[in-house]
Symmetry: C2
Subunit: 218 residues, 2 copies
C-alpha cells in the first residue's frame, strides 16, 4: 500500500498534516455528494473510498477507488466548483481533510506543492485515459482483467494479491452487469490467469494476466 510519504519529503507531509484535520468515516458513509461545494481536499490515510456517479435508474458507476496515501478530487477544490461525483467510504476510513483555502495557499507559496499536485493529476489522467480505452473497446474478460490489474497495483507490494472487492463493484468499474462480471472472472480463472478462493479473486502473478491483456486488445 502506498503511504503518505510517497507524496514527497517529510516536511511536505508534515505540512499537509499540520494544515489538515483527520476525520473518520464508517463503512458506507458519504464523504461528499455530487453537487456539494468543494470545500476540502481529501487524502486517504487508511481505508478505501469509492467515487461514484448515480444513474437515473438508481444504478451507479464507480469512477475510481482511492486508498492509502492517495489525494483525490483535486479539480473541483482547485477552482472552487462543485464536486462532480459522490464519494463513499467502502470500509472504515480515515481521511486527512485540507481546507480549500489552505490548499490554495500551499500551492501559491510552495513550488513543491504545486509539483505534487501536478504529479498527482498526471497519474489520474493516465488512469482515466486507460479506463476510456478499456471501456470503449474491450471484451468483458479484458475489461475485468484491466480493472483487476489496476486494483492489484494499488495493493501492497509483492506476492499474491487478494482483490477486496465484490463482483458488483468490479462490474460497476467495468461497465458490465454483475452476472457478466462473475462469468468473466470465472473464465479468467479457467485460463489460470487468476484464482478464486472463497469467491474472492486472487492474483498470483500480474504478469500472466498482463500478457493476456496485451495480446487480446480486440
Amino acid at each position: 500500500m502506498r503511504s503518505l510519504d510517497e507524496l514527497g519529503s517529510e516536511e511536505l507531509v508534515a505540512k499537509f498534516r499540520e494544515v489538515g484535520r483527520t476525520k473518520t468515516f464508517q463503512t458506507g458513509a458519504e464523504i461528499f455528494a455530487e453537487g456539494d461545494e468543494a470545500m476540502f481536499l481529501p487524502i486517504v490515510l487508511s481505508g478505501k473510498v469509492k467515487v461514484i456517479k448515480y444513474l437515473t435508474d438508481g444504478k451507479e458507476v464507480i469512477i475510481n477507488i482511492f486508498q492509502g496515501g492517495e489525494i483525490f478530487a483535486i479539480p473541483p477544490v482547485l477552482d472552487g466548483k462543485k464536486y462532480p461525483a459522490t464519494a463513499i467510504a467502502m470500509e472504515n476510513t480515515q481521511l486527512l481533510l485540507v481546507y480549500r483555502n489552505d490548499f490554495i495557499k500551499l500551492l501559491k507559496n510552495s513550488e513543491e506543492f504545486s509539483s505534487i499536485a501536478m504529479k498527482r493529476m498526471s497519474e489520474l489522467l493516465r488512469e482515466t485515459t486507460a479506463s476510456i480505452e478499456n471501456l470503449a473497446t474491450a471484451s468483458p474478460e479484458e475489461r475485468v482483467g484491466n480493472v483487476l490489474v489496476r486494483l492489484a497495483k494499488k495493493e501492497s507490494g509483492s506476492g499474491p494479491v487478494k482483490i477486496p472487492l465484490r463482483r458488483q463493484d468490479i462490474a460497476e468499474m467495468a461497465g458490465l452487469t454483475t452476472e457478466t462480471t462473475i462469468r468473466a472472472v470465472r473464465r479468467l480463472a479457467d485460463k489460470k490467469l487468476l484464482k478464486i478462493v472463497r469467491g474472492k479473486v486472487i492474483i498470483d502473478e500480474t504478469k500472466s494476466l498482463l500478457d493476456f491483456l496485451d495480446h487480446h486488445s480486440h
Copy 2:
C-alpha cells in the same frame, strides 16, 4: 473557438510563444507516436488534432480531440515519460511546440504557469471522467449525444454548430461501430434533437439535446 489568450494574460501567451516554435502538420500527419519520448508540449494554434490508441486488430479509439488554444499531453511531458498514445493532425494544423525543459523552467519560475497547467489538467480530468461515465453506462443514442455535445462545446460561440467529424470518428469516440453510430445519429435527428445536412451533423440548440441526455441516463 477558444484562443490562446484564454490561457491567461497577454504576457503569459507571449512567453509561451517566445520559448516555443510553431510547426505545421498536414492532414493525417503524425505529431507524435505512442512510445516516443515526450520531448515537447503541444499547443494547438489552428486546426484539429486527434489523440488515439491503436488496437491490436488495427482499429483505433479516439481518446480526445484538441483544437484552438488547447494544450494537451501534459502528463508525459511533465515527468519526462513516453507518450501513452499517438497524436494525428485531422486537418492542416499549426502547433506551438514548447520543449520540455523550457516548460519545466516556466513552471518552476512562475506561479502563474503552474496555475495554468493545473487548470488545464483539471479540465481534462473533468472531460475524461465524463467520458468514463458515458462509456460505462449509456445507450448508443446517449453516447453519441454526449460526444456531440462535447464536440459542439469546442466549436465557436453561438448559433448552429456543424460537427466537422465523420461518423467513424464519432464512433471511435463513443466506443461504437460506424453503423451503430449512423443509426444513433439518425434516431436523434428523427427526435428533432439535431439536423443532418449533406450527411453532416448540425446542432441547432444544444439545450434540447442536453435535456434529452439528462432525462435518459438509463
